[in-house]
Amino acid sequence: MVNIQDVEKLAQLARIDISEGEKEELLKDLRGILDYIDQVRAVSVDIGEREAGEVRNVMREDANPHESGVYTEKILASAPATENGYVKVKQIL
């Protein structure tokens, strides 16, 4: 069964800041949902039997590229912080 440490770990993995008070509530909700979906875990089937569906290439040809920079302004308009045509982020290294 999931415990409070699992909730903390999941929040970290999912990059979501949660408050102390919310952890207990999330734990209760997650337990309820997992309890419901556990009926799937309980079905005894060999999932190795699964046949792959028909495989087809869904990627389009990378042809006729648009001119570089034509969408830059439009796309950057939604970024919270930009500088000289780039998205601005905090220092990574």
């Binding site: 993995l13 699964r50 919270p80």
Partner: protein, 470 residues
């Protein structure tokens, strides 16, 4: 004075083309209703400022003889469908100030026809919910009974049509998000075949399940919208190529009822009684009704609640406070992510992202996700097998009528169960339609649902038109 109560796309088409009224007058009539009703219902998050200009453009098209089925027809759109230059928030604080940089394909097709866009409608945050109570912009009320929810997640679009604040609306379906609110508000809701309508420009929730889906007052209006929007789109890798779109022209005759699925409990007795009456009426007009055995369907909703959160946790990783939307300041990049997502996402979205993260984590992936994918294949195969014997599968659309505002908010599983009859169609990619089937003793709409084989929307339209008049 335009009679908005009985208007349909087909009737509006005749009146617009014969200049009985103009697209401008029609749009103005809806703007008047919006002004009167939206404060109470909260169906629209935004009414566009250029509605009358759009209508003038439609009138110009009509005068020039450039007439398409949807020229001058007023539409409302769920807030997760992108329209270039307009806000699209998906009912979330994290996208409060987001402006779309391109048109969704369904939007482009409607613009080409000269449809009139009235505004964007409220929804559960990122389409996660069944009652339009998880929106960051307040709840939407059911126009039939304002103490009740309109259903969800496309509750704003449903309420807008049901209250006469638009003629038709688009929502999106991942698991019943159009059929369930259509049921609660007394409308026709169509979930198309997966891959029939383009998903390009829809904010993804569960990519393997999502479809744009219309709300209308009649089956024929649903058919008109479907036929306008159903075409191959190069921009959607799961759009069905034209050569795969082989349509079966036969007329449906035989309806299968998955009894064990209906009898698993939790279904309101009045809903069941209404369903049986509808079956009886169908029999009286010449349809053959048979019981079918599909025990696998009982796993549908649980399978859905594994596959969907897995896709949600992956999809919503793009909302990081960097590329678009709400951004909280932090001392380093990790803190920007954590705070932006923590403050920007509401409770249900956080819950589903964490659930998906758990399901996809090492050690649980096989037990949950791979098992669910296996069962999804089995559900699809068993449904396909059933369609060798019957033309349609029938169930009630929802296990209950519209519930009270505030109800089920503390119990996620109880909320999820309101979509129990929706899951099989989304998991298998089959089309499905919800059609009003009467009024309950407390005055609430009841609804009947048909599921057809993939690409057999025509079966749904054919029987649906007869169902409406029986």
């Amino acid at each position: 004075m335009i009679n908005l109560k009985d208007i349909t796309i087909s009737k509006a088409r005749i009146s617009l083309d014969s200049k009985e009224f103009s697209a401008r007058e029609l749009a103005q009539a809806y703007l008047d209703v919006i002004k009167e009703k939206n404060t109470e219902i909260n169906a629209y998050l935004e009414v566009f400022g250029d509605v009358l200009e759009q209508a003038d453009n439609a009138d110009k098209m009509i005068s020039e003889g450039k007439i398409f089925p949807l020229t001058g027809i007023p539409f409302a759109f769920k807030d997760n469908i992108l329209i270039e230059g307009r806000h699209a928030s998906a009912g979330s604080k994290i996208l409060e100030n987001y402006v779309a940089s391109y048109d969704a394909t369904v939007i482009k097709l409607l613009k080409d026809q000269g449809a009139v866009f009235l505004g964007r409608t409220n929804m559960d945050e990122f389409a996660m919910g069944s009652s339009t109570q998880t929106s960051a912009y307040g709840i939407t009320k059911n126009p039939v009974d304002i103490t009740r929810v309109p259903g969800g997640s496309s509750g704003g679009s449903a309420a807008a049509v049901a209250s006469g604040m638009t003629l038709v609306a688009l929502g999106t379906e991942t698991c019943g998000s159009v059929r369930q609110p259509a049921s609660f508000c007394g409308l026709v809701g169509l979930k198309p075949t997966y891959g029939a309508l383009s998903r390009y420009g829809l904010m993804a929730m569960g990519n393997s399940l999502d479809q744009p889906a219309p709300f209308t007052k009649t089956v024929i209006d649903s058919e008109i919208i479907f036929k306008t929007l159903s075409e191959y789109d190069l921009m959607d890798s799961t759009s069905m190529p034209e050569n795969m779109r082989v349509v079966d022209n036969k007329k449906p005759k035989k309806i299968g009822v998955p009894r064990s699925f209906l009898n698993q409990g939790g279904v309101d007795t009045e809903v069941l009684a209404n369903f049986e009456q509808s079956l009886e009426k169908l029999k009286n007009i010449g349809y053959e009704i048979v019981d079918i055995d599909l025990p696998i369907l009982e796993y549908s909703l649980a399978v859905y609640y594994i596959i969907m959160p897995a896709e949600v946790s992956t999809n919503l990783s793009r909302f990081d406070g960097i590329r678009y939307g709400y951004s909280a300041d932090g001392k380093d990049l990790m803190e920007v992510y954590m705070k932006s997502r923590g403050q920007g996402f509401g409770k249900e979205v956080r819950r589903r992202i964490m659930l998906g993260t758990y399901i996809l984590s090492h050690g649980y992936y096989d037990a949950y996700y791979n098992k669910a994918v296996f069962l999804r294949d089995k559900i699809t195969k068993d449904i396909d097998e059933a369609f060798k014997n019957v033309d349609l599968i029938a169930t009630p659309t929802t296990p209950t009528t519209a519930f009270k505002i505030g109800e089920k908010m503390d119990d996620p599983v109880a909320m999820y169960l309101s979509d129990i009859f929706s899951a099989p169609a989304n998991l298998s990619g089959c089309p499905s339609i919800a059609i009003p089937s009467g009024i309950s003793s407390d005055g609430l709409p009841l609804s009947f649902q048909f599921v057809a084989p993939r690409l057999c929307e025509d079966f749904l339209f054919d029987i649906g038109k007869k169902f409406e008049t029986m």
